[in-house]
């Protein structure tokens, strides 16, 4: 078992366990914390694929901005213990879990056991394309138009969030 394989299996196990804990906790704050752990594991997995820029952006944007926003909203709405919804195990949830498990088995079969063979990662090429300089070069030349459009998306999101969350003073 090489160091790379061991790193992958440790990070993957922690990611799957924390994802399961996210969807099963009653307290939303605990779900948010486990989701942050999941994002850190994913950042580690991106680093094993030599995607340095995406790994850092994952921590900065997802764990550092989006999850902080989630925790702010949870605390703003004061969803403490007194607001815990009593969710039992209904048959609907069992059917949903069963269907998702069936789809997962199909996906695992197609990806792992159906004879599809993928070439291994060319590490030197992956190291070349994962750097900030290379992604910046592509982002500002070949993908300039989508990049400018994302600035419009973010402006629309800011305006929308302010308008929706504003208290209407009637």
């Amino acid at each position: 078992m090489t160091v790379e394989s061991l790193t992958f299996y440790v990070l993957a196990t922690v990611a799957v366990v924390s994802a399961l804990l996210v969807v099963t906790r009653r307290n939303p704050v605990m779900s948010a914390l486990y989701l942050i752990l999941n994002f850190f594991c994913l950042a580690g997995l991106y680093l094993t694929l030599q995607a340095q820029f995406i790994a850092v952006i994952q921590i900065l944007v997802y764990a550092g901005a989006i999850m902080v926003l989630f925790v702010f909203v949870i605390m703003l709405l004061n969803l403490g213990d007194e607001r815990r919804l009593s969710e039992g195990i209904s048959w609907k949830k069992v059917v949903a879990a069963g269907l998702c498990f069936a789809l997962l088995m199909e996906l695992v079969y197609v990806l792992g056991f159906s004879g599809a063979s993928y070439a291994p990662v060319n590490t030197s090429r992956a190291m070349e394309i994962g750097t900030v300089e290379y992604i910046g070069g592509e982002l500002f030349t070949k993908f300039l138009f989508p990049f400018e459009v994302t600035s419009l998306i973010l402006t629309a999101a800011i305006v929308g969030a302010i308008v929706l969350a504003k208290r209407k003073l009637d």
Partner: protein, 100 residues
């Protein structure tokens, strides 16, 4: 020598766990977090293929997916706040005004 099949299987697993969260939970914020989990699993798949094919387009797409996910999280949480102010509940079973 990094093979990407374990990464793809991990991506499928995280996606399905997120799907179970969306379908089976009644708390709106947990549903939101499950949607973010699904988006992240797709990001992992994109980065794995980008590394394997030597094409940076996958990582550029991950950049845009993260941007759109951030915008969506902001607006979604604003909607949840507005909904909570109105109905004082986050249980999705009780948000049924559109039902006939």
């Amino acid at each position: 020598m990094v093979e990407i099949q374990p990464y793809l299987i991990l991506s499928a697993t995280l996606f399905m766990i997120g799907a179970v969260g969306v379908l089976a939970r009644r708390n709106a914020i947990i549903v939101f977090m499950s949607i973010e989990l699904m988006l992240n699993s797709v990001n992992l798949s994109l980065v794995a293929f980008s590394a394997q094919l030597g094409d940076v387009t996958g990582q550029i797409l991950v950049f845009f997916v993260m941007t759109v996910a951030a915008a969506e999280a902001a607006i979604g949480l604003a909607i949840i706040i507005a909904l909570f102010r109105r109905k004082q509940t986050l249980n999705l079973d009780e948000i049924n005004i559109l039902k006939w």
